[in-house]
Point group: C2
Chain length 404, copies 2
């Protein structure tokens, strides 16, 4: 008789955003007349930029003619996309990354969930707390996190690095030595980040203790401050200790288009074993490439017209962020983030739990946000609002919250 | 110091098709004047059908306007696609599958590699031999296959079910009891299949011994014989023991478009634990949906125009299959397949090894095929040609082989 992977049984509840969707659906079913504004899940609302739409139409046409049809893509992704990535995301920042160190994927969520497969089961992970839930959940499924304590909402074998008001949301080097360190910077959900000098400390630490940093740079395009690194490879020594994950979801609105990439430098080795070769093997065996049309869309992100249009899109969302941040401040809320990331992280008023505040906002303002506790125990007492709504909805939601 | 997943080190050589690509690249670099014809990898060559191209253009336009833009897709896939699948792939065949038992994915390769994650590490897998390499390789990476013996090219903990001339390519119930049984029918690479009655035997066996069948139906659209099942759910009792995987790559030419789906029936349970719920959790945590544009393309596969156009495409490839099969027979080769699948499986002449025949064909006819040994030890002495080329290339390759 077959047996299941019992690690799945250890997962408490469902994936955060599925839980939220269920709660919102239940509320709207009971109150069909209410107009809900969703500033919860980090989904974008602006349409795909014209330069990218044009590139996709062209690619669709190519797929319709035998002489320009594209079947299976190269394992790593098309050269045209990998070269554009290297040119614009790395060379311009002085990072020496080669095109064959880029692995094109169907998105950073898949990559951030799959990357743990390269490592031994008894490796210990360290995560910022709060953080994007996929890092921990994918390691739970792999049996790497020990036992769950419902009282503390913590896993026995996970090293938590609290990021709270008290430490300015800057993760501190952990007391126990981790094997894998997940850093999402600028951070989801807090919208805060650290300076390049602070990041260098992490790179030096990882090289010293023999840890790998999984660096999720999904929100890189929103960085506005000069002393913040756009890529971990801006730090010296990062190529021997870091894997970088990038998404096209937030900088180009690809949440429904699906494209991302991982950088696994050839210098990243565990003894003689190249992690680059391992990831290449995984990519070749368990994945079959992102769609040709989508890879052409990715290429257009880096075209002159594409870059100009996306700069405007990012600015649009950051104006939303500024409006929410200032509006909530004026209303007496304590707020963070919104400077280098499109997320506003607020202290819940009157020490409400974050799920209580979720219900309160949903019921009284018909606004959906994300409870901080969903991102880890240190997220309790905080709440995330995203700047990815339309201007109209963002301002309407803000007005409703201020009226409470 | 972090450690790697040492199971990766156990994999011998690289993924089959990567190896072939390297060999072909080396040959063409050395002989730039030679015109290579590729009948190796199962990649299609006919362009995407007009009805699907039209649907993709429409979806691209929707993505370019705020009011019709689509962000994150629902976890399981869009309702419009899941309903079309249920209607055309199941209801018409008398299979009672619900739309929420369909999980839309980026392709059957990913699904067939990922599905093993649901099961315990000490479960034993059984595979047809020869077969699509991903089933075994993904289980090697998960540490489920024991040790590899280079002499026999077999894994100690894998149950091999030889499918050869001697047993008419019909897998026999294994002597040792497996937990997971991978069946790819019609089979890749042999192009042969079994009858519905024979498949019923497997369903009954799996229910009796408590095994799960992973049923890969990627080539279902090529079935021409009446007594062959198009879905395993045509067999009684399959919903309590089988997961079905489907691809859009072969029936609709989506190798570069990327779309597939898995059916995990709600009745499939290990004790109290629903495998449907487990797969839903995996999908929600480690995957973020197939692109909206691609899901609309999938919907068009089932439209009236789409179905008519794809029927012609399948017929085109099957005429290629007939031409190769008859031509090789006339030239004295012993050939199989090509009736319910677009693959021709031939005995190598004069007892050549399959890799020797690969080199021989590449060098003397400049035709690329796939060595049978690459699909498992019982593939030794056989060779696969695909019918997915253009008519012109197919006939030219055939003429070259006949001249040898």
């Amino acid at each position: 008789m077959y047996k299941i992977n019992t690690n799945y049984q250890k997962l408490p509840g469902s994936y955060l955003f599925s839980t939220i969707a269920k709660k919102v659906n239940a509320y709207t079913a009971a109150h069909p007349d209410k107009q809900i504004i969703r500033l919860g899940i980090g989904d974008v609302t602006q349409p795909i930029a014209p330069a990218i739409i044009e590139a996709m139409h062209k690619a669709v046409d190519e797929m319709g003619r035998a002489e320009t049809f594209h079947g299976y893509a190269p394992d790593l992704g098309y050269e045209f996309l990998r070269s554009a990535i290297v040119e614009h995301d790395y060379k311009t920042r002085g990072c020496d990354i080669a095109a064959d160190e880029i692995f094109v994927s169907d998105g950073a969520k898949s990559d951030s969930a799959n990357i743990q497969e390269l490592f031994a089961q008894d490796n210990r992970i360290a995560v910022c707390d709060p953080v994007y839930p996929v890092y921990v959940d994918s390691n739970v499924m792999a049996g790497r996190t020990g036992t769950y304590d419902p009282a503390t909402e913590m896993w026995s074998d996970v090293i938590y690095m609290p990021c709270t008001m008290e430490n300015g949301f800057v993760p501190q080097l952990p007391k126990e030595t981790p094997d894998l360190i997940y850093l999402c910077l600028p951070n989801n959900p807090t919208g805060t980040t650290i300076t390049k000098d602070q990041l260098q400390t992490w790179v030096d630490y990882a090289n010293r203790v023999g840890a790998v940093i999984i660096y999720d740079a999904a929100y890189e395009a929103y960085i506005s401050e000069q002393d913040v690194a756009h890529s971990i490879y801006e730090c010296e020594g990062a190529k021997t200790c870091a894997i970088e994950l990038k998404s096209f979801s937030k900088n180009a609105g690809f949440t429904g288009v699906r494209l991302g990439y991982a950088v696994v430098p050839k210098e990243l080795k565990c003894g003689d074993v190249s992690l680059h070769d391992m990831w290449a093997r995984r990519h070749g065996t368990k994945f079959n490439g992102a769609p040709y049309i989508v890879q052409r869309a990715g290429e257009a992100v880096y075209s002159e017209a594409g870059r100009a249009q996306l700069k405007e899109q990012v600015a649009y969302y950051m104006e939303n962020a500024g409006a929410i941040k200032n509006g909530l401040k004026e209303a007496g809320y304590t707020v963070f983030g919104g400077v280098n990331a499109p997320y506003i992280w607020l202290k819940t008023p009157e020490n409400m739990t974050s799920w209580d505040f979720f219900d309160y906002l949903l019921e009284n303002a018909n606004v959906v946000g994300t409870p901080g506790a969903g991102f880890g125990p240190s997220g309790e007492g905080y709440f995330r609002l995203t700047a990815f709504g339309s201007r109209e909805n963002t301002l309407a939601a803000l007005a409703r919250i201020r009226k409470l």
